[in-house]
């Protein structure tokens, strides 16, 4: 359960203040499938960064599972990112000199899980995404779709409750893009994951049960397919 109340985010650009988000109120139920759409500069990415605790709002409160996470310090926020939130990025962000398995292992290394358990969880994760064969390949030996699947494995390896995907297919061709989307949707369905996808793509956005359109830092439209 995510609750945003009166979230604003201002950026200082030169001597001007840009209001990327203007007092956004938003509730996301656990296990919801939600898409964030809107033109560039509409604030959808900023909203996602705030949801992912990569950015702090200028004002407003953000409660995750009843806990006010805006008040947490850096270390506690990092722990929330580690344990509760998974990220999938448009540009994959894999470490080029690490193998697929090592990339997927990273969050577990950061949270200090012991090596034997790490290996087990990583190979299970890679297997569920059909990447077992590719575990020892480095990113430059993988196709775009495979890279994004490694990134998904990395996001899921610490079993988060929320998956945030920022244009996950933006850098993929149509067929591997739809494959990646299907994988993410499967995870959402099988594990009851809260899924938030930021996208330009109307078609992809419409697959979500709840579709939010943003314009100028405000929620313009909130169509909830689950609630008529």
């Amino acid at each position: 359960m995510i609750e945003l109340r009166q979230i604003s985010r201002d950026f200082e650009v030169g001597d001007q203040t840009v209001h990327a988000l203007r007092a956004v109120d938003l509730e996301i139920r656990a296990g919801e499938y939600l898409s964030l759409m809107g033109p560039s500069g509409s604030g959808k990415s900023t909203l996602m960064h705030i949801l992912g605790l990569l950015d702090r709002p200028t004002s407003g409160t953000y409660e995750l599972d009843g806990k006010d996470v805006t008040a947490l310090d850096d270390a506690a926020q990092a722990a929330v990112r580690r344990n509760e939130i998974g990220f999938v990025f448009q540009f994959f962000h894999l470490v080029p000199y690490l193998t697929a398995a090592e990339n997927a292992e990273l969050p577990l290394v950061l949270s200090g899980v012991d090596p034997a358990e790490r290996r087990e969880r990583v190979s299970a994760g890679l297997a569920s995404l059909g990447l077992s064969e590719r575990a020892d390949h480095r990113p430059d030996q993988l196709s775009g779709g495979q890279r994004q699947r490694v990134a998904i494995a990395r996001a899921m390896v610490s079993a988060p409750s929320v998956l945030l995907a920022d244009e996950p297919t933006g850098n993929l061709d149509r067929s591997s893009g739809s494959e990646v989307i299907r994988l993410i949707e499967d995870l959402h369905e099988q594990r009851g994951l809260t899924l938030v996808i930021v996208t330009h793509d109307q078609e992809m956005g419409r697959r979500a049960t709840r579709q939010i359109s943003m314009v100028d830092g405000e929620v313009e439209e909130d169509r909830d397919g689950a609630r008529p």
Partner: protein, 379 residues
Amino acid sequence: MLLAMSIGVAAVVVLTSLGESARRFVSDEFASLGTHLLMIAPGRTETSGGGPSMFAGDTPRDLTIRDAEAIGRSRLIDEVAPMVMAQAKVSWGGKERETPVLGGTASMRRIRGWTLAQGRFLPDGDPERDSGVCVIGSKIRRELFGPRQALGEWLKVGDRRCRVTGILAEEGRSIGMDVEELVVIPVAAALALMNRPGLTRIMATARSHEMMDRASEEILAIVKERHQGEEDVTIVTQDALLATFDRILAALTYTVGGIAGISLVVAGILIMNVMLVSVSQRTAEIGLLKALGAPRAQILRLFLVEATSLSVAGALLGLVLGVLSRVTILYFYPALPLTWPIWAIVAALATALAVGLGFGVIPARRAAELDPVAALSHH
């Protein structure tokens, strides 16, 4: 950068090692003179006031051969050697050379521990008499006589002639004079040659190390009695000389080590630069780590560890370099008592570590403070 660090560490280790070794070398050299040695010089050295002449009359009285003999009669004194040092022209067979000439007695050899390559040293006997003989260093022998026999030849020293009875063995340098270039003549002959009444020094050895202080007092008393109540000599003991040299060389070692230490700081700045470049190159990775839930402290630690490992790797390389240069130095100068002061090695490694940590802080902080959103969009 690794190279800079290793050169810095190697420099610290090698230079301090050289300094230490010089100190050892000097003390060994002094020890070879015997630790019972007392040097008696004319004139009083005052630690305050306007100089010796204000207290001891217009000029200090000369030290004479008779003074030396009087000192030699003390029960506390083992050997005594009156000494005159000068420069003079030495010639044989049309060849001439300007060289240090030492006026001495038979006891001189025993005090200095000289050995002879050929012949005999000055004879024992009345030091007031000029026996008309001389002993020459090996270099003088080579330069004046070449391949010819030198023993028994008449050598001209200044305006006097003497017969060569001995040739000193080559034993390198002993403090203050080069034995190879020396011409030793009887002290009486040297006084006549220089046309002056006073000795340059009297060297004496105490019977034991424990008697040094008492011997020194007794010598003062003897001189005072003989010089109408004036203590117009200065006695320098082996220990005092040694302590002075020791202090000077220790200061030198620290200075040189300190200068070498500066190169470590330079290496540190290089490490900082490398780390800063590394941070900006890996901005996206740092952003990723943050997104994956690495707290600021963890990223800080990561980069500090990296900077420290770099500098420690450099330091270890430097130690290897130091070992190599030591081997090289020893190869060319096997006589040098090269030591490894443990403190120098520890200090060099500790400095390297501190430098790595210290100069790693700025880049590591920069990495830790990166804004993950901006870092992730960095390419």
